[in-house]
Symmetry: C2
Subunit: 226 residues, 2 copies
């Protein structure tokens, strides 16, 4: 499939690499390609600059958001939550309409320091904001409840014996995302319901962040035992 | 131990029965004993009236909130979230001071229908509200993330192979609650940190409620796979 991954951080890189490895035709979208590739220093988290990642993944094209979205059948939103609506607006409503939009972002607000809070919660969610802003897109919320490396390679933890949640209004889009998740190695895909159920999946981020500290590693995940 | 269970709903009954069965001296606290015992009809959920439960558990005393708290070394808040501060105020600050207050309640707001939202979230929590209101109590948040029957008898699901979270400012109180949880059969007790970490544990309720619908049973729970 032709897939656009919007975002060049660790989540975008993990998704793009895995999708490329599975044989998909991947385009990474970014705000400004020249600026993105010009960064020569590791980021605040110590991750190497995107340019070295791009060099190591020559099959993956790097283009502006709009070009990536226009070229693809599925769009993955791997931008930071507070930049998602802006990035998707740059991608262009026409380039999203009729397409599956897999939303991985979390509405984290770091403006008051650590731990971050959520800038939308309880009666609304980032997934719903995106769906309302782009009504022609088929938004599916998933994967936002785990570390990037587990998103794309769940087998590296307990042989993948944990759960991933789906929320969305379009059944066919959810089925397509389910297939994609299974191709990554996920075995327990739980369909929560319509896009509003993504509120719940986004609202476990504060617990996720506390657990990271409590268990001492980001390589953990939620399993729904039943 | 002498333990007060505040609340006569399914959570309070499950806790009181289990604690009584384990040999603790249990007092159930309620707003008005005569009113509580006078109800002859099942509640809105179809549960039998409290009076029949009380008859079946003759060792468990039923008293007003204040008397239950005064008689006990540990207080369990099993009231509904929107009535918790009121119930604890009736229990009396002096009767809570210096004691462990195990808070199981969730800040659910049913005023706009189903599913409920949270009346406090993100930058505050019910556990913190209780701790601020009763600074002399040693508040420990726990057990609020699972069904009442699993709280007290985790072995009935996957032989107890799931997680329970702890939040609180007092290390000795958390150790005592941990011992209590282990006596129930819990094996994976995760200490999240101070009472503010209970925000995370309370904020997974929206996901819990959606999962109840998605998996078709309330007998499920979260396991932190790591």
């Amino acid at each position: 499939m032709r897939i656009a991954v919007l975002g060049t951080g660790m989540v975008g890189r993990a998704l793009a690499e895995r999708l490329d490895g599975l044989g998909h035709e991947v385009t990474v979208g970014t705000r400004d390609v020249a600026t993105t590739l010009a960064r020569a220093e590791p980021d605040a988290m110590g991750n190497p600059p995107f340019s070295s990642w791009a060099e190591a993944h020559p099959r993956v094209r790097v283009t502006p958001f709009a070009e990536a979205a226009a070229a693809s059948e599925m769009i993955v939103n791997a931008t930071s939550g507070d930049g998602s609506l802006s990035a998707l607006t740059m991608a262009g409503e026409a380039n999203l309409t009729g397409k599956i939009l897999l939303d991985i972002a979390n509405p984290l607000d770091f403006s008051a320091g650590l731990p971050p809070t959520l800038f939308v919660e309880n009666t609304d969610s980032l997934g719903e904001q995106i769906q309302r802003t782009f009504p022609g897109a088929k938004v599916v919320k998933a994967l936002n409840t785990m570390n990037a490396f587990l998103m794309v390679d769940p087998k590296q933890l307990a042989n993948g014996d944990f759960s991933v949640f789906l929320s969305g209004d379009d059944a066919a889009a959810k089925a397509a995302v389910t297939n994609l998740l299974r191709s990554f190695g996920h075995t327990d895909v739980i369909d929560l319901g319509d896009i509003s159920t993504g509120r719940g999946a986004e609202m476990i981020l504060p617990l996720w962040l506390r657990l990271w500290n409590a268990v001492g590693t980001p390589k953990f995940s939620f399993k729904i035992v039943r």
